[in-house]
């Protein structure tokens, strides 16, 4: 018997069950297909405008900085301003994401923008978030051909653009969008939920930012709100 | 069970109060009678069985439990001046017997009518205030079983607040274990000592004149430690203060 069969057999023996039991199979298939949501904290169950405000507040609580701009057209300037204010060079690396590519980069002549994954020598990276969760100020980023995961972790400064419409109240709302996005197929290789910049408390329980990942997380929220948004769970 | 004006209470005296501090028993008697209860103390009680239970000896525990059930079954309520012993009867006795047996049903019935003294006064009899005086600053330790198994936290504080002249100075970490733990304090004496030493530091920091709690195990542990350390407030069972019976020496103190 293979190790697999041995283990499954041992589990069934302990449970006093057998795999063919149709009631058990049905219960499992049902849960996997319906993915019931359980308890959703009230704090995120507010109008979309308030969800965006909550998202910003929660992100700041975990030491991210947050900027708000009216439209995607304003993003390159906001980035240039941020870099200047932080005394950082006007240079960043980003993925080929079409919404990032469509930004009016030519408005910032001094800003040097390269594209592709990071090999570890970039100071600043820019990514686009697939979603945001107001409940805890969490960004959700998907990996893909135009969205390298290395950009989320190797650079010291991580700038993330998120459209206000993509901010939801709770994680479950993002999972439902993700299911639509993948049309029920396989998830992207990496889904990063990011809540603030990297940190460690491993030395004397003193929390320090920038353990292995970015020391700074800067979020640019585009647009403020639209009634409804994509913030409802179903 | 009809709750008449004068419920019949069986006082579970507890082995520690019986041997070391009978005044706690008399304080409990007074409090219960003042609250309108008829109280009896069955002779056929020794201990709740916790020493055996926590040592993994289920057989002896069950035998002792049967004895307690026999002795206390006739009463409207079982009341113990200890969260630990009351918790043993109220939360663990039913687990000692196979479900669906008569013994299990009897254990459950007894469990349902068993209470710790202060909780009984505050929550069952609805005593709101006591007509006693105690002109001292006290601090209160939340004994673990009472706190976490029976939810005793506000009741003693509420009743203490009604005692004339009494001031409560809360200690840091009043909900942290004192390190007694029954046989633990003897089997792992040095760990227990470390824990109680931390506890007595917090007690002294309050500047209180009296340390109170609802369980003699914890009280003897903390009193014994502070006496060994040579400093700290006097130590009493909360029932003594609530009953206004504080004339005698505190725990481990010399007569007169």
């Amino acid at each position: 018997m293979s190790a697999r069969d041995q283990i499954l057999h041992a589990v069934r023996r302990s449970l006093n069950a057998h795999g063919a039991d149709s009631a058990r199979r049905k219960a499992v298939a049902h849960r996997l297909a319906r993915h019931p949501a359980g308890t959703i904290p009230e704090r995120g169950q507010v109008p979309h405008r308030d969800q965006v405000a909550l998202f910003r507040a929660m992100a700041k609580e975990v030491q991210a900085s947050v900027d708000v701009v009216e439209s995607t057209d304003d993003v390159p300037a906001a980035i240039a301003d941020y870099l200047r204010a932080q005394n950082l060079p006007q240079s960043l690396r980003r993925g080929g994401d079409e919404r990032l590519a469509a930004l009016p980069w030519d408005t910032q002549k001094t800003l040097e923008v390269t594209t592709g994954a990071s090999a570890g020598d970039d100071l600043v990276a820019l990514s686009r978030a697939f979603g945001g969760v107001a409940e805890t100020g969490t960004l959700v980023l998907l990996s893909g051909p135009d969205n390298p995961s290395t950009l989320n972790f190797l650079p010291e400064v991580h700038i993330v653009m998120i459209e206000a419409d993509d901010i939801a109240g709770d994680y479950e709302a993002v999972w439902n969008r993700l299911r639509e996005h993948t049309k029920g197929g396989v998830l992207p290789r990496t889904v990063n939920m990011i809540t603030g910049p990297s940190r460690s408390g491993d030395i004397e329980q003193t929390i320090l930012l920038g353990a292995h990942g970015p020391k700074q997380l800067h979020i640019i929220v585009v647009g403020t709100n639209r009634p409804g948004g994509k913030g409802s769970r179903r | 069970m009809s709750l008449d004006q004068h419920p019949h209470v069986g006082l579970f005296i507890t082995c520690l109060a019986d041997l070391f501090r009978p005044s706690v028993g008399f304080a409990a008697l007074k409090l219960l009678r003042d609250a309108g209860c008829r109280v009896d103390v069955p002779r056929a009680q020794t201990c709740c069985g916790q020493p055996a239970y926590n040592a993994g000896d289920r057989r002896d525990t069950a035998a002792i439990a049967r004895q307690v059930i026999d002795a206390f079954e006739p009463f409207d309520y079982v009341v113990a001046p200890s969260g630990s012993c009351a918790g043993m009867i109220a939360k663990h006795y039913p687990d000692l017997f196979d479900e669906k047996t008569r013994e299990h049903a009897r254990a459950q019935a007894l469990a349902a009518k068993t209470h710790e003294l202060v909780q009984f006064l505050a929550d069952v009899i609805n005593v709101e205030a006591l007509d006693v005086k105690f002109d001292k600053t006290v601090t209160y330790h939340d004994s673990c079983t009472g706190l976490r198994e029976l939810g005793i936290r506000d009741q003693p504080r509420r009743l203490l607040a009604s005692v004339a002249g009494l001031k409560l100075a809360e200690m840091e970490e009043s909900e942290t274990c004192c390190g007694f733990g029954g046989m633990f304090c003897v089997k792992y004496a040095d760990i227990s000592d470390h824990i109680v030493a931390g506890k007595t530091d917090f007690v002294r920091q309050t500047g209180a004149e009296v340390l109170l709690a609802g369980d003699l195990g914890c009280l003897m542990n903390m009193a014994g430690k502070m006496q060994r350390q040579g400093s700290g407030p006097e130590v009493r069972h909360v029932a003594e203060v609530l009953a206004g019976m504080t004339d005698g020496p505190a725990i481990g103190e010399a007569d007169g």
């Binding site: 030395i203 004397e204 | 009978p22 020794t46 000896d57 481990g252």
Partner: protein, 472 residues
Amino acid sequence: MEIRSPDFAKNSSRALHDAQLQRALGNVKLGFIAKRRKAIDKLPEFERLRDEARAIKEHTLKHLDLYLEAYEKKVLEAGGHVHWAADARDARRIILDICREADAKTVTKGKSMIAEEVALNPHLEQAGIDVVETDLGEYIIQLRNEPPSHIIAPAVHLNKEQVEADFRRCHTGLPDGRDLDEPVQLLGEARAVLRQKYLDADVGITGANFLVAETGSSIIVTNEGNGDLTQILPKVHIVIASLEKITPTLEDASQILRVLARSATGQEFSVYTTLSTGPKRPGDPDGPGDYHVVLLDNGRSAMLGTPFEDMLRCIRCGACMNHCPVYHSVGGHAYGWVYGGPMGAVLTPTLIGIDKAGHLPNASTFCGRCEAVCPMRIPLPKMMRHWREREFERHLTPVVQRAGLGAWAFFARRPRLYHALTSMSAAVLRAMAGRKGRLARLALARGWTRFRDLPAPQGRTFQAQWQSGKRA
């Protein structure tokens, strides 16, 4: 890892007298308890989420075989591999084989208690592979050749001066005069040293907080980002996880995630929660080319259907340790194996045997605080008592204790004799104490009187006074 659990008493004695350790343990109390309280107070739904989390795990365990099959199917669909390991030896062999296949010279590792459980590092090192722990705490203890002392804060037993000394000893080639007084400087140095390791690594090994059956994803939860760099840079990602990490859906994982970080570090959410599904896809510019999951049983299947099944709900948050007075006193190493504190006191005997781990479930005051804070509502004291019962049944309880207990029970079951004995004891103790009201030494209670005075009985027993008609 060498088993030192039988020496718990000796280990704990040493720990109590270790001034460095005692100073470090102070941080556990300060760091974790208040932060957890604060996070929970901010979430009114917390208690309901605990119930949900427990129900999810109970449901999952009852259907574990089916969820394992569903999970495996999804991993395969995503292009990953699933390996089943019945025990630690299997897991080590499987992982070494994958590393050899990848021609691995350097392996980076995210923090994994399961890897500790199967003693993975020594096995890979013996095969000539350079294994680098990347979680800062794990990295520090790796330099010291020590096991973790806490399941989420492996180096919580250390002070910064000790870390500084280790860095100076191990990070050769850096200027001797460099300033390492502050934690931030230590962190900066570790970051720089480890950065190169991430880039050099051929294989990255992580644990998993969840294995999601719905999607075939493994989820890790970290604050540093080390687990991410460990898995996206090397060409192979290996996940090692025990069976009970299975969680049905993303929604189910979300319910449990809501209680995990709050219980563990008092954060509302950890910084990085990462779902990994299979290897990188065609066109992906980064990510591992191969993705392997090693599913470890190592005794879990045998816990199902027993009184210890509840322990399989454990999500390794460490709240039980953070609130345990015994853990606060002696730290994690005293427990003598991988898992310490209350969860270790229950789990370790199932993994190394109660004959070796007998002290662990006994070294508890049963204060119940572990159960009170456990997000998964695991009745830890109850299960420690189960172990004590098994020891008693198997006559593993120490002879002296057993004899004493037997004598006591003999009297406790005979009220008449008992009252005679207590009356006599009251008189004797009272006489010995004289007018002092307490005893400083008592041969029969040495464990007590070594550290404390014993209050003497007030006089006659309550029962004797009651019987002779004295009334309040």
